[in-house]
Assembly symmetry: C2
Homo-oligomer: 122 residues x 2
Amino acid sequence: MSTPAQKHDVFQAIADPTRREVLRLLAEKELPISEIAIHFPMTRTAIAKHLQVLSSAELVSGRKQGREKIYRLQPEPLTELKQWLSFYEKFWENKLSILKHIVENPSENSLSVIHTEETDKN
Amino acid sequence: MSTPAQKHDVFQAIADPTRREVLRLLAEKELPISEIAIHFPMTRTAIAKHLQVLSSAELVSGRKQGREKIYRLQPEPLTELKQWLSFYEKFWENKLSILKHIVENPSENSLSVIHTEETDKN
DNA sequence: TTGACATGAAACCAAATGGTTTTATATAAT
DNA sequence: ATTATATAAAACCATTTGGTTTCATGTCAA
């Protein structure tokens, strides 16, 4: 974490399971650091740093209110992830549709396909 | 990297830009390690390790053919990412639709909303 | 004003990460 | 048989990461 101030990437920000859980919490409602920290088996400080990472990726924003700092979810950067993903969707949809075809048509030559692998070994 | 043999998670696997670029390459066609490495400013060994990470996340699979090891894309685990993302879509779509509403209705009280922030400072 | 909270900042630490170089091994080509 | 190619495995290294503890500061409450 290391309070980098440097812009973090969305991909990197969501790589950590703790940070994903923080996002999940903030999806329900905005929360001050201490309240967030209650849900985790680590110190408030550690959570504060995770929030800084999320903040530098612009996935959350924090406003100071009295003595507490309240964080809220800012989901917009996730569109970048969605875009990235959309490129790959055609690949797995393709694979799944082939599978679907085999499952839904138990006739045809499914068995011969399976046997191909077996016979290759000989 | 460190050749962990341990199962890697998709989120972690795609966190690294080099690995994302590798996936992009393999999306076009399967390739042996050396060919992949040509596209990067690092050693073949480094790429081999990235491939191990991708492999342990099951985003690629490698088969040995002669003296080369050919890797191919295996996009299925990305469905987990998509699922994760889908939870957040409602949030940003919500925000965008509010924005859209403001933009498309320049009448109404958009200005008063903007002024709220200004007057808070006093 | 005197504590009690909530945070911020800094120093520190172990482990993980992203890379390198070196050495070994199997396969292909001459 | 020899050499070149493709990978694998291991040792090593610097930096980053995810965490801690300690100390300082601002704010709320009594």
